[in-house]
């Protein structure tokens, strides 16, 4: 059924339809509306779940670690500083192979404190072992939660999945969303049957100490499972489209890529703006396109290679930094081509939209314009040089 919904309420509603048995979260802007709504849903008896109020994000993550370890489908959500407070638990959840599903409302990191959207929080957690999806709009955010549960709980995968939705832009934006029915969801997403769980009648230990004899293999297996997930995601999205009628690749999405000469690579809600600009420039006869990365982890390197190998000029938009090094997404996109037979002539890297600074159509056009020139390395768009004159000597 089509409804006009705020992003947070849409996410809360799809989580209700996925029927988790335990929800634990600590409120943080801009994630708050999601868990507020879920608390209300549970209190109103519309979802038979235990909502565990906790004193911090570290506890929220620990609670869902425990509940999934007991074989119960679980859910949490956070953002920014909360995600960082969860960090050590997140690595444990992945290492213990527990399919926790989490929404992260992507937000900037302190200091200076900033509650608005960029990707620094989620991108910083890219090595945690979690599968990481980035949604472009609210409909995709809703759908990725279904795919996340289905993928994470697959017996061959058993990994946690983070669905990253841009803070405010998607969490607080309104959009007409096609919300699936309970029957459709049940058809796509069977109830969770844990292949291993904590059980007093059949005791076992999760995440015990392992010495150098075993640790390498545990990490190797985790890494291999990400490769297996890479192969499984497109199969799951085919089934998804059979039930819900919406088509996703789940890894990447090309837009006007066929004869494109200049292509922007991006993640998240900015892709919507880029598509609008692509449409506008295409009308003027400019051969421009977009490659959207939906799955940052596992990183779909071979898909990206195939999509970009014949594109002359590529720009990568980063909404996060790896301070002291290359912009993180740009570095990975470039790594795809090293030692391969074909590659773009230039791969430029742009940093844009940090801490909620609007990425306007003009910003995107500026990037397309700069692509006609020399290769750019970590070029900041919409930088205000007049703010860089303070002196404390």
């Amino acid at each position: 059924m089509k409804e006009l919904l705020e992003g947070s309420l849409a996410v809360a509603e799809i989580v209700r339809l996925c029927k988790p048995g335990v929800i634990s979260a600590y409120p943080i802007t801009p994630q708050t509306h999601i868990v507020e709504e879920l608390a209300q849903i549970v209190a109103n008896g519309k979802l038979n779940a235990q909502f565990v109020n906790v004193e911090s994000e570290h506890s929220a993550a620990s609670t869902v670690l425990g509940s999934v370890a007991c074989g119960v489908r679980s859910y949490t959500a956070t953002s920014s500083q909360g995600l960082f407070l969860m960090a050590e638990v997140l690595y444990n959840i992945a290492g213990m192979r527990l399919p926790v599903i989490m929404t992260t409302a992507a937000r900037a990191i302190s200091a200076p404190i900033n509650i608005w959207n960029d990707h620094q929080d989620v991108v910083s957690l890219r090595d945690s072992g979690w599968i990481q999806f980035h949604a472009e709009d609210i409909q995709e955010a809703v759908d990725l939660h279904l795919i996340a549960y289905r993928l994470g709980e697959d017996k061959s995968i058993m990994l946690p999945v983070m669905v990253c939705i841009d803070g405010f832009i998607l969490t607080h934006g309104l959009e007409t969303v096609n919300m699936p029915s309970q029957e459709e969801v049940d058809k796509f997403l069977p109830s969770y049957k844990a292949p291993y769980k904590l059980d007093v009648t059949n005791p076992l230990t999760l995440g015990p100490l392992v010495d150098p004899e075993f640790y390498t293999e545990a990490r190797f297996a985790l890494n291999e499972t990400h490769k297996e997930a890479l192969a499984l995601i497109p199969k799951i999205t085919v089934e998804f489209s059979k039930v819900f009628g919406r088509n996703y690749n789940g890894l990447i999405e090309g837009y006007q890529m066929k004869d494109a000469e200049r292509v922007i690579v991006a993640m998240g809600s900015v892709c919507g703006t880029v598509k609008d600009v692509v449409d506008e420039l295409r009308k003027k006869g400019k051969k421009v396109g977009l490659l959207k990365i939906t799955s940052l982890r596992p990183f779909p390197a071979s898909y990206i290679y195939e999509a970009l190998k014949n594109i002359p000029k590529v720009a990568v938009i980063d909404r996060a930094l790896s301070l002291g090094s290359f912009a993180p997404l740009a570095a990975e996109i470039k790594a795809v081509f090293f030692g391969r037979p074909k590659m773009p002539k230039t791969i430029s890297s742009f940093v844009v939209g940090l801490g909620g600074r609007d990425i306007t159509r003009e910003s995107i056009k500026e990037i397309f314009r700069l692509l006609t020139g020399k290769e750019k390395q970590g070029e900041f768009i919409d930088l205000k040089p007049e703010l860089l004159k303070e002196s404390y000597e």
């Binding site: 392992v210 190797f220 985790l222």
Partner: protein, 86 residues
């Protein structure tokens, strides 16, 4: 793919940690033993067993060679010897 992940109870019985041992291992001389049980009690690996005089010994699969048993023996009936000695 799954690596070493889930441990059934009793896994430490299967994971023999004796190879971590230092160069020394205890040698139970079995001459002066009075069955005081001190060696068995102080062993941090709980790998000494026995009952009755001159009847105690250690389990090489788990002994780390710490020497506590030799140090505590009131009769000096346990010696620490080189790993490869008789």
């Amino acid at each position: 793919m799954f690596g070493p992940l889930v441990c059934k109870p009793g896994s430490s019985r299967n994971n023999k940690t004796g190879p971590w041992r230092t160069e020394l291992r205890p040698k139970f001389l079995k001459k002066e033993c009075i069955a005081c049980n001190m060696c068995l009690v102080v062993c941090p690996e709980a790998c000494i067993s026995g009952q009755g005089k001159n009847n105690y010994d250690f389990d090489p699969d788990f002994c780390k060679g710490c020497g506590n048993c030799a140090a505590v023996c009131p009769k000096k009936d346990i010696e620490m010897v080189k790993e490869d000695s008789a």
